[in-house]
């Protein structure tokens, strides 16, 4: 698959595809309405932790697949960081070969059930869809269809293991079991390497487990994908911190020929405003980890979490949405988003914002916290916020929020979650003196090969990007797998 565009074009010529294209006129296809994802009722789901989106039925998926025009020059694929052959899998759905659709996705994506749920398709494939670009119509529901194909395969009990090259016995280490590490491990296994994934926590999955809540991405689904990777021969070691439990040098001595570092975004950022260290003020990482990874809301688990009645979440990204919706589910009477820009400028996925609104989340846009106050026990009881207005666009292209002097007022809160971003995890970089780092603490890599300044160390995901999406991390992991493969073929195998 040297040239993805070429490969995608070739597939279009196959007889079954040509046949399908003829079966329905483009006009008829474009006149069809976009499918609506089925979801749990807003009020009901705000009290349970079950998945919000319920998936498409077979009929719904097939109907949606008919909308896809199977374009001669498909632009949707350009928007996909892992290069999924989108028209092929959609046409497989139209042909009612659902397992074939899943197989087509898995040619380039190790975690389709995950991506079908958490990818920002509206900014990637669906943004580049012919419908969006040229017809000014809602795009094909590529994400919903991806999820459908992956779920169908999983529920069929006939999950296919991707084809794997003959084992070459060469050991490669993957540091971190989040999306970039899993993607790298999957591809390296396909190339025939003996892959071991080292994970610092006690669970495999990284942010997919500790970060993204059950109602958006059930852990069982992540586990099935991980189980599949085990079947591909990937080994997983939990409770192992590369750079601490053993050094890179120790692992080199054990025969590891190359490393992929996907250690993720570690340090949560705070705003450094007065009172931010009062009890009841969490980073989103802590709040979500307690609930998702440690299952703090379950009676029989030992980890506690403070479940407040008036919960404010500071930030406007997906993590902020996950946190505020979690707070609602833990029994908050009032769960609110405090964000310094307007609703339109929130970086969170539109779908998540809509979901949050339907669940009764309050949005206080154009507000920013400036100070916290606490009761005599040190528990936060008030936050002071300042109103903001929008000025000229800043470097991000969004209008800069400007504080309005004298507009401060207080809100009663008993729990605050700060979700204003993360910095890269310092543990791996601090254990490697010669590793070139940026001023932001990210590992500097070659953009094509993902190779760092140390030749046998490659890196990707948030440790390189500083904070991005699951799918971009996976794209990095795949690129790095190719980079590692070429490196080993050139340097080591000879």
């Amino acid at each position: 698959m040297e040239n993805i565009a070429e490969y995608i074009k070739e597939g279009r010529k196959e007889a079954w595809r040509a046949e399908l294209r003829k079966s329905m006129k483009p006009k008829e296809r474009t006149s069809l309405e976009r499918v609506q994802m089925r979801e749990q009722d807003g009020e009901e789901r705000s009290h349970n932790s079950m998945e919000v989106n319920l998936g498409l039925t077979e009929q719904m998926a097939v109907a949606e697949s008919h909308r896809c025009l199977d374009c001669p020059q498909p632009t949707c694929t350009i928007g996909c960081p892992v290069g999924i052959n989108i028209p092929k899998f959609i046409k497989k759905i139209e042909a009612q070969d659902f397992l074939g659709a899943a197989a087509a996705i898995k040619e380039t994506n190790a975690l389709p059930a995950v991506c079908g749920r958490v990818c920002p398709q509206e900014k990637q494939c669906e943004l580049n869809c012919f419908y969006t670009q040229k017809l000014n119509l809602p795009p094909i529901a590529i994400g919903h269809l991806e999820r459908f194909a992956a779920d169908y395969e999983r529920n069929s009990g006939k999950m296919a293991i991707p084809e794997i090259s003959e084992s070459n016995g060469i050991k490669v280490a993957v540091v971190g079991s989040g999306p970039s590490g899993l993607a790298a491990a999957g591809d390296l296994a396909k190339f025939g390497y003996d892959v071991t994934v080292f994970e610092a926590l006690h669970e495999i999955g990284g942010v997919l487990k500790y970060g993204i809540p059950e109602f958006r991405l059930p852990n069982d689904i992540v586990d099935v994908e991980i189980e599949n990777m085990r079947k591909m021969g990937v080994k997983f070691l939990t409770d192992f911190i590369v750079g601490k439990t053993a050094s890179f040098e120790d692992l080199r001595e054990q025969g590891f020929k190359a490393f992929f570092v996907g250690s993720g975004a570690g340090l949560p950022r705070f705003m450094n405003i007065p009172g931010e260290n009062y009890n009841g003020i969490f980073s989103s990482n802590e709040y979500l980890t307690r609930v998702n990874l440690m299952k703090a809301a379950h009676e029989d688990y030992d980890t506690p979490v403070l479940s407040g009645k008036n919960v404010a979440v500071v930030g406007g990204g997906n993590t902020a949405m996950d946190s505020v919706r979690t707070a609602k589910r833990l029994g908050a009477d009032r769960a609110m988003i405090i964000y310094r820009r307007s609703l339109e400028e929130m970086p969170a996925r539109k779908e998540e914002v809509h979901h949050a609104q339907a669940e009764g989340i309050e949005f206080m846009n154009l507000h920013n916290p400036v100070e916290y106050f606490a009761d005599e026990n040190g528990r936060v009881n008030k936050m002071r916020v300042q109103k903001m207005e929008l000025g000229e666009p800043d470097a991000s292209g969004r209008r800069r929020p400007i504080p309005i002097e004298g507009s401060e007022f207080d809100i009663d809160v008993d729990t605050v979650v700060v979700a204003v971003g993360v910095s890269p995890n310092p543990i791996v970089p601090s254990s490697l003196k010669d590793l070139k780092m940026s001023d932001w603490g990210t590992i500097i890599v070659d953009k094509e090969t993902m190779q760092s300044s140390i030749p046998d160390i490659f890196a990707g995901g948030d440790i390189v990007r500083g904070g991005a999406t699951v799918i971009l991390a996976m794209g990095d992991g795949r690129k790095a797998a190719v980079g590692i493969h070429n490196y080993i073929q050139e340097k080591v195998a000879k």
Partner: protein
Amino acid sequence: MNKIIEMEFFSENVAKIILEAPDIAKSRKAGHFVIIRMDEKGERIPLTIADGDPEKGTITLVVQKVGVSSAKLLAKKVGDEILDVVGPLGHATHIENYGTVLCAGGGVGVAPMMPIVKALKEAGNKVITVLAGRTKELIILEDEMRAYSDEVMIMTDDGSYGKKGLVTAGMEDVIQREKVNKAFVIGPAIMMKFGSLTTKKYNIPTDVSLNTIMVDGTGMCGACRVSIGGKTKFVCVDGPEFDAFEVNWDEMMTRMGAYKTEEHAAYEKYLQTVEKKA
């Protein structure tokens, strides 16, 4: 899975536990800690490593019963396994030849002090150790400390062993008597606060080891954050040892009580279930 090889109770609520952890035994240094999780439903708790044997592949922890997790740990038997042990975490203690070093350990804080005393001695320091506890049975690891210290002074609140008085009184005695170049103070937060107020009076550079609430222990959650010199730092990745004079003790103590109500309720519940079984 990490098997418990040996258990020795110093008193009803304090025990030394030696467990299998071959990788950690090899890579650990003075000052490092581990995070353990007892079982599937357990919480992650940080414990400072008191000792290690790379040949046998074991590490030593000293645990005091303070809540559900520590009670569960102390209820384990030799041969039982602990589901998760990860480490070594944090920065190792900065060791050099300072000259004369005063090491003050209170309660189970004596355990993390042990490898520091050992390393300081090996680096050529004169090490004077003050061991303190409320009462005689809470003085632990005395023999081990004597083996690596030039002098050991014992302080008990009730005078049941050694001299009667607080740890600070013992520290003052030493400082009044001879020139001290460096101090390490490890124990309960309140003891570290007053211990370092004592050394501050004499301008003796002092390090403390903080044992805050943690979840992951790898810099991810920020539960362990404390103000050091007015800046927020994470004990797990920036510490656990800090310049004692920079620590905002009151904030730290407040933060350590964040789950007091929940912890108390959970412990009560735990005791009831234990009684039911018995």
